[in-house]
Symmetry: C2
Subunit: 129 residues, 2 copies
Amino acid sequence: MNKRYTIGQAAEATGLSIHTLRYYEKEGILPFIKRTESGIRIFDDEDIQRIEFLNCLRNTGMPIHQLKEYVDLALQGDKTIDERVRMLENQKEKVEHEMNVLKSYIDMINYKTDLYSKLKNEMTKAHLQ
Amino acid sequence: MNKRYTIGQAAEATGLSIHTLRYYEKEGILPFIKRTESGIRIFDDEDIQRIEFLNCLRNTGMPIHQLKEYVDLALQGDKTIDERVRMLENQKEKVEHEMNVLKSYIDMINYKTDLYSKLKNEMTKAHLQ
DNA sequence: CCTTGACCTAGAGTGAACTCTAGGGTGTAT
DNA sequence: ATACACCCTAGAGTTCACTCTAGGTCAAGG
């Protein structure tokens, strides 16, 4: 039961817009999409999964041209697995680094809100005197 | 010893470009910058710190218009502290949420690299047989 | 004085990633 | 057979956040 989807249903399933799916295909990062004889795109469950993974990479900040690089490697078959793994590990490191940076920003924001609440406290005291 | 800085030195100190500093001022998020009589910008240590904090917010994904909103509140004085704290708490939640999402993406990438290494393993076995 | 490097403004240009439009085809239900 | 929702393409438009350019001003050293 490998379901078929139109582009509208694929958009629904992946959370991307129809426009974005067509754009991604045009950019070459969805080379696996089939068509009917009349030219209408057909997606199956595997396609949806692949799009979801690409979207995951995209959401970690990987730019389109690099997604294309990854997909192009995949199209060349198993001999490129090492290189694909390298890309993924590299992206993972970037995300981990980004998370550490975000953590430090949270600390800065906390520091600031602490300052504010102390300031409020002072103001209240001053008011009561 | 509250040092003075030209825009070039301020750029150096904050890691932003001269262009970006001027752009931020034009957008109204650096209303505290003074000028010499002849119109040249002067930054002091406090300015540098404020810019660094704004840049921290910016790097967490807060858009320019919202930074402006925050700065506009600050210009109105202490009576807006609650609202500013609300903005900061809100941004903090967004960052925390983003970190969780990134964490889940790391899990997805790990899952994929595991698949790849299993696949490699199978291939090696097959080759040895 | 004059050169030189850093500063100024207004406004144009850039790059990334969509997002939309116009004009036209498809397919299914009445 | 016609209405209607959904599909297609090519290409234009949008948004965001810078980034740069042209044409000029300023200030310190020689």
